[in-house]
Amino acid sequence: MAALREVLIFNSKCFRGVRSYFCSSPAFQYSSLSPNNASSNVQKLDFEESDTKRISKAMKSYMERAKIHDNFIKEQLHQYNIGKRHLANMMGKDPEFFTQHDVNEAIRYLFPSGLYDPRARPMMKHPDEIYPKRKAAEFDMNGRPFHSLFYTSKPNYYNLLHDLAVKFKQLDNHEDKMIYRGIQDQQASELFLFGTDWVSKESVESVLLESLTDSQYSNLIKTMERFAQHRYAVREKNFIMQFRHQLAAQTEIQKIPELMRDESNRPFTTFSARRKRSNATVKVIGEGTGLISINGEDILYFKRKQDKEQIIFPLEFCNMLGKVDVVATCEGVGMSGRVGSIRLAIAMCLRCFVDAETIERMRLAGLLSYDPRERERKKPGQPGAREKFTWKKR
């Protein structure tokens, strides 16, 4: 029997040592869970003291690993704290009140790095932020799992889905009661969901402490979406909002540059934009007569009709055609790229001269978006990006 149990339990996933949620009630809150140190579990279990109880092999090897990990984390924490004090001394600051922000600044000062990716640069963080958290013991000393869904290998994930099912039934019951009483209380879920979006897969994984496949994550989101569409979903607003994060309004993201004044006291702004290996710097001057200058020449610098129309596009859209002057310098390969960069720069500058409504209209018209499209590379074994060599059957 013991041997069979060992065969069943001796699964690598058990020994990830991941924190498990002891859920007694169907509706548990993720935020209220406190970190459970593996070593404290050892003391709680008390098995080392009893002689009559036999420890299963699974539990034994788990305990060893948990101990090693625990000691490792302790050591790292100790090193981190000592390191912090050293840094504080080096920087001449009070070690007691040395925050993580100060630590980051000190590192940046003492170890200046020219590396591009911020993640490659030297850092000193709390071990909890660097080393992934692990679950506490998922089974007792006899190898019997605590969680009823342990053998799904993702108990927290499936538990969450079960919770949703239970809540759905509860909402349906509530709706039935309302219908019986004749109360029509329709509150659209769009109202409290507006301006938010579902959290990413990484966030869910870090909360559940289980890795999910893409299909499992999308399944979860679909279920939550269906749950949020219930007529009385607002009753479970707090539960739903745990899985949603706030979005920033698109117009707030881009800061509108300030209007400057030149020698003749005319207002102007400058903006530099890129498109497809070309860049342009454009100066739009208010109180103008509609003069357009590109690299010192007239709008006829561009020979194609399409290009000339593109320059005028943002001005026409904002009804600013004869009201502002445009002075542009552009460089780079290709006429289309140059025109695109000038257009974007003009649109960006015009934001200073129009009201907020027009800015939103410009954004919806696609005038304020950077165009990320680039020439697709040629692949080996093909003459072009998509073109293939002649297919020969033999």
Binding site: G195, D197, E309
Partner: protein, 233 residues
């Protein structure tokens, strides 16, 4: 780049990662440089007004929008269908040439119609003659658009041509394609714009080769009506 730097600092839609800006995608999705949730731009002033009035625009407050194409603009001379038509006429990326051909075609249409207009004696006759080439083009395309199309379906060893419903996009595409094919004359004696003008006016009057082609297709669909249920197996 200042723009992409700004876009990177604040939280936006789920799972954004890029070196260029929050709108672009790395090699994960090969068919678009944009992420799936980025919306198409609406540059037509009327459509934009409608969008804002109906409240749809409010939903897009948090959604990034794609950059406007470089063949779109808000000029009074701009026509969506013409733009599409020019793209279909274009060969080897020669956009300017294609555009000139189509605009020459429109000029010829105007000349032909004006000739008729000046020849007309009564006011009633003059009122009937359509002078705007854009209107003629739209009506011609409408007259050339098929309502059904044939698709080959294999049943029991032989392939049958089964009539199936057609989408608006496909119908418009077929109309434009047939028009262009008819205008590309084999002998090359008459140039594209002249042929286009003649074909457009014929199609406007519901005559001509392109309309005939559409009617032939309809006849074929009618003949193969018995196989219509093959669509569902």
């Amino acid at each position: 780049m200042s723009l992409s730097g700004l876009l990177r600092t604040l939280p936006t839609i789920n799972a954004i990662n890029s070196s260029l800006g929050s709108l672009s995608l790395l090699s994960r999705q090969p068919y678009s440089m944009y992420k799936p949730f980025v919306k198409e731009p609406v540059y037509n002033i009327e459509q934009l007004d409608k969008l804002i009035e109906s409240g749809e625009a409010k939903k897009r407050e948090f959604v990034p929008v794609k950059a406007a194409r470089n063949d779109h603009n808000v000029s009074v001379f701009y026509d969506d269908l013409t733009s599409k038509f020019v793209n279909m006429v274009m060969v080897k990326g020669q956009k300017e040439l294609a555009r000139n051909l189509v605009e020459m075609g429109y000029m010829k249409v105007k000349q032909i119609q004006l000739a008729k207009y000046y020849e007309a004696t009564t006011d009633a006759e003059r009122a009937e003659i359509e002078l705007n080439p854009i209107t003629i083009f739209h009506k011609a395309l409408e007259n050339c658009s098929p309502v059904l199309q044939l698709t080959p379906i294999k049943r029991g060893g032989s392939t049958y041509q089964v009539p199936i419903p057609i989408t608006e996009n496909r119908a418009r595409f077929l109309a434009m394609k047939w028009m262009i094919l008819e205008c590309r004359e084999k002998e090359r004696k008459i140039h594209f714009p002249e042929r286009l003008a003649v074909e457009l006016i014929d199609a406007f009057n519901n005559t001509g080769k392109v309309v005939k082609r559409k009617q032939d297709l309809h006849k074929q669909c009618e003949n193969n009506r018995a196989y219509a249920h093959y669509r569902w197996g």
